[in-house]
């Protein structure tokens, strides 16, 4: 079973497919996302890419719970996340996110890199990672473009979770479904409408918006990525992550029993 499903076409669709783990982003998942994005990039004639997830959540963020060599793995995960965010932003199609359930930290970083975001009212969105001693700085370049600077500060620094309605109010989401069951239909209809737009006009408009916003420059992406990596290697992060890891392992052992 693959961790990512890909449909190609005028609307390409990438569906995260690790429902039991709320589509948390592992290195294996990133490998498949990379491959899927590569195929979408090579399909020249498309209007949009829809990003969605199977199971209870869109994406619950980087998988920092499993495996060994924790700090090296977190670095690799952060590098992959930053790379995917840049590729989504520069993809010559309109990238639409269909966000249900949790979109946390790395998951929130992905949606902030999309051009349009559809949410269900009960979605849970935010960056609850300072509590782990980690900095979500890697997501700043796209988040500060997505919502006003004041909202971005409040969301990131507090680590609070907001629901879909609040995300819509502050501009992190652009379409609010009436209910969770109506979300897939809403996202699909947006992609269908995009297919009727001038393809060259869409590409030129997205490229121009990227130029205006400085999204073509790697400098901010690089610097914030390095900052997140650095913060994950501090003693503070090690201590806080140890505690989180122990609690997580304990929780999962209990479940297994």
């Amino acid at each position: 079973m693959s961790l990512v499903e890909l449909d190609l076409g005028t609307t390409a669709t990438i569906t995260f497919n690790d429902p039991d783990r709320h589509n948390s982003l592992t290195l294996a998942m990133f490998e498949e996302i990379d491959a899927a994005l590569g195929r979408v990039e090579n399909e020249v004639d498309g209007a949009s890419l829809l990003l969605r997830g199977h199971g209870p959540s869109f994406c619950s963020g980087l998988d920092i719970l499993t495996g060994d060599d924790r700090s090296d793995r977190i670095e690799s995960l952060l590098r992959s996340l930053s790379s995917v965010a840049r590729r989504l932003r520069r993809l010559p199609r309109v990238v639409v996110a269909e966000v249900h359930g949790n979109a946390l930290a790395g998951g929130c970083a992905l949606l902030s890199a999309c051009d349009m975001v559809c949410v269900e009212p009960e979605a849970r969105i935010g960056y609850p990672v300072h509590q782990l001693g980690l900095s979500p700085a890697v997501s700043i370049p796209t988040l500060v473009q997505s919502i006003p600077a004041g909202e971005a500060r409040s969301l990131m620094l507090s680590g609070r979770l907001i629901d879909g309605r609040e995300a819509y109010r502050i501009g992190l989401a652009h379409h609010l479904a009436d209910s969770g069951s109506e979300l897939p239909g809403l996202a699909a209809s947006i992609c269908t409408e995009l297919a009727d737009k001038g393809r060259n006009a869409l590409k030129a408009t997205k490229a121009w918006l990227n130029e205006i916003c400085g999204d073509d420059h790697d400098e901010y992406f690089d610097r914030t990525l390095e900052a997140s990596i650095e913060s994950s290697r501090t003693t503070e992060a090690t201590t806080m992550l140890d505690g989180f890891w122990e609690r997580g392992r304990g929780g999962r052992t209990k479940e297994a029993d």
Partner: protein, 255 residues
Amino acid sequence: MKNDTRNEDQGRVSSELKGGCLWITLHRPAKHNALSITLIDQLHDAIREAADMPSLRSLVLAGEGRSFCAGMDLAAAGDDPEAMAGMLRSLAEVMIKIRALPVPVIARVQGAAIGGGCGLLTVSDFVISHPEAKLGYPEVDHGICPAVVAPCLANSIGAGRARALLLAGGLINGRRGLEIGMVNTLVEAEDLDEAVDALVSRLETGGQQALRVTKHWLNTIEDPDLDAMFLKGADLSARILAGAEAQERLARRRG
């Protein structure tokens, strides 16, 4: 102070001083005030005159009839890409001039404000409209790139919302315009004049030089390179407009 009618079909622009407020009005109601070459030229003249009025306190942009402005009248340029490029550049220049006006600019928006017409809203300091107004940038529907308005729109409503709006094409109503910050004041259509007058009166209570200083610095801090971006956007827009995709879609529209 009224300009004379030049050519009814192509419309005209009037300037009328009411106290310290200059009303600049588009008159081409049969075409929902679609911007012809004549209208854009006269708008240039009217804005230039306004910029030289030392005792001016505020300026209102308005349109006669059912709509504020339905956008660029690309039919005027026929199928001549160079003429279209010229119109786009001229519109970009008039937007630069409006934004640079030393006094607060209020857009009084009824009915449709579409494409280039909606672009006039982005360079105004205040937008007063009503819930049923039809606003937005359907450029990508026609294979066109809304490059002229993009930089200013990104500043005024935020880059994320500008991105989602411009890539989606289509239109939004005044209510949604208020939610995303494209409209500052929303009143019932019949109350538009009252709302405009109330704001004009309020602005007249402020110190004249203080308002001019504040506006100058808002323009400067917001984006000192914006003028160059308008012109670059006009060139990009003209390039996309001259392409096969846009020309095919425009020809289909002409029938």
